[in-house]
Symmetry: C2
Subunit: 122 residues, 2 copies
DNA sequence: CTAATACTTAGAGCTAACTCTAAGTCAACC
DNA sequence: GGTTGACTTAGAGTTAGCTCTAAGTATTAG
């Protein structure tokens, strides 16, 4: 498929796709006789995975590292696993912190409810 | 206290504190006869709250809105409560999404473990 | 009195992650 | 055969949130 179709299927703009290729997050994208990129379903899988990592707050730099390892083949499985494990831990911490903040905000909301109730009464 | 002391106590750089004042996130910071800012414990409380909102992913623009309402006094309590409630909901959604992603990543890690075990076995 | 230090301001610079522009090539339709 | 439209590239521009610089004033220490 061409870049437009790929862009629609992945929900990533053509600009961003070229950018990802430039910085090495997308690798070995093939070209046709015109020099136009063409994409396969494997590329869709990879971009979906990249999006997941991004959504979890992994910077593109780290994602690129992962992509570099992936390119080197199966011997890097252990390293890639480690990268994911480190990130999973970081996400767990983030969720824990956010939950704590959420609790604090809920308390603040409770505080506002008291004020508002008192105003209504008094 | 002066900006350096305040910076140390809040863990926010003096540059950032001036920036926050400039964009309206910090308001009514008083000045001494030299025109130097001086801060009180109330300012510490407010900056701590700002940091909490930021840590939960609220953009400075929204925090400024909140600060604007706060400046107008108690009549804006209901609006501020609403702002917080909206954000609390957004954070809940974010946590839910991150938890789902985490689950997916854990699956991927399990997949790597299988590959690595198979390789060891031969 | 001079040097060091803390503050002031306006505004430039930085980083991440895009996002867009300009200039150009190439194929396809009428 | 011209023009429309999709693609190409290098590189500039954008946004958020800082972060730093330059130029200047005021206080303090020796």
């Amino acid at each position: 498929m061409n870049i437009q179709t790929f862009s629609k299927l992945t929900n990533v703009s053509a600009h961003t796709i070229r950018y990802y290729e430039k910085i090495g997050v997308l690798k070995s994208i093939e070209r046709d006789s015109n020099g136009h990129r063409y994409f396969t379903s494997k590329d869709i899988d990879w971009v979906s995975f990249v999006k997941r990592l991004k959504d979890m707050g992994m910077p593109l730099d780290n994602i690129k590292q992962y992509a570099d390892l992936r390119e080197k083949g199966e011997s890097t499985s252990e390293l890639r696993k480690q990268l994911l494990q480190e990130h999973a831990l970081a996400v767990e911490k983030k969720i824990a912190i956010e939950s704590l903040h959420l609790k604090n905000i809920r308390e603040k909301i409770g505080f506002y409810e008291k004020i508002i109730n008192n105003n209504l009464k008094g």
